[in-house]
Symmetry: C2
Subunit: 198 residues, 2 copies
DNA sequence: GTCTATAGAAGGATAGAC
DNA sequence: GTCTATCCTTCTATAGAC
């Protein structure tokens, strides 16, 4: 089955990008880890590394969004959901030796000033995360006008949490990020319940 | 003067790391941009790319901390200082076409799972930023116990702001980060003024 | 001690056998 | 259409001329 090799290449590349970034991951390294012949990359992705990279970014963005939404939904209310996301992130960091973090953050910073096609792909992923999170915040009682900037802040805290926690190999930073996110969300919900708000 | 070449290599490398990251920056690219002979790198940094990289990380960390502290000090009080930092970051992003951001963030994510020496260097830089920011927050009236996690959150919002703003080539994310940071700091100061707090 | 030339490995990409 | 062998470039690093 041809699509099986293709999928294996995508999975492997996503994994290597998350660990070592875009420039840090070689095509030979990918096919070796995916047990695929070298030519398969150019068979399935005629545009080479960039085409493969773009598909991996968009696909990882979708998959990670689904994962986070599933964890978020475990919470009974908004604050519980946010707490579950940050607690889950800290748990995954600990369990994987601080390697499994955001699948696109490293790539996003790497390509931001050097590859416009890939930069755009990372921007689209972040935008879809922001939109989805804002929608959840609104549904949970955050005043509509405040939902989007709050969603951005929550995602930034998560990304910052990954960055500092991976560097320090310690979840203190992710814990602090979660506490800050919870405080911001709780305050926004409180404001939403006041008669004057919105 | 020999130390002039050395300094030029350090400055150039810092600039290239910020734009293209660690793996994305080649030694030949560095000497070309620094107008230095190739051998100079190994003359001044016998440990090669890693030794140069470590010194650049620690040096950039110090310099950026000084820059941020200078901007922070422009504010009259704590909230004003934080606002100045995020406004300044947004301004620099706009003015440089979204290339001049945090000097070590890209490198930090790249090396977190692949080079322990450099990972440790980035961790040390983040830690020194956290310590300094926490000290300022305490001096500005934030209860001592809350200063450190708050400092972490503020730095994470700044880093997340750089990441999302560079990807989108838009300062909306940095503006949202600043607003969130201000809200968190203002709330902490308010809590510090309550008699029951601390 | 400043600089050039080059080694040896790894990078992305391609051609063509089967 | 699956895979191998190879091309050319670039990488880090070193040797040695001057």
């Amino acid at each position: 089955m041809q699509s099986d090799t293709r999928r294996r290449i995508l999975d492997t590349t996503a994994d290597l990008f998350r660990r070592h970034g875009y420039t840090g991951t070689g095509l030979k390294q990918i096919v070796a880890a995916a047990n695929a012949p070298f030519g398969s990359i150019y068979h399935f992705f005629p545009g080479g590394k960039q085409e493969l990279g773009e598909e991996v970014i968009r696909r990882s963005g979708r998959m990670y969004q689904e994962l986070v939404e599933a964890v978020w939904s475990q919470g009974d209310d908004l604050v519980d959901g946010v707490r579950a996301v940050f607690d889950g992130a800290a748990e995954v960091l600990r369990a994987t030796g601080y390697v499994d973090a955001c699948p696109i953050a490293t790539v996003a910073l790497e390509v931001a000033s050097s590859n416009d096609t890939l930069r755009r792909a990372t921007a689209d992923v972040f935008e879809s995360w922001v939109t989805a999170a804002a929608e959840r915040l609104r549904a949970g009682g955050v005043p509509s006008r405040r939902a989007r900037p709050l969603a951005i802040a929550v995602i930034q805290l998560l990304e910052g949490g990954f960055m500092l926690s991976r560097a320090a190999q310690d979840t203190e930073a992710m814990d602090a990020a979660g506490a800050a996110a919870i405080e911001l969300v709780a305050a926004a919900v409180r404001r939403g319940k006041l008669p004057a708000a919105r």
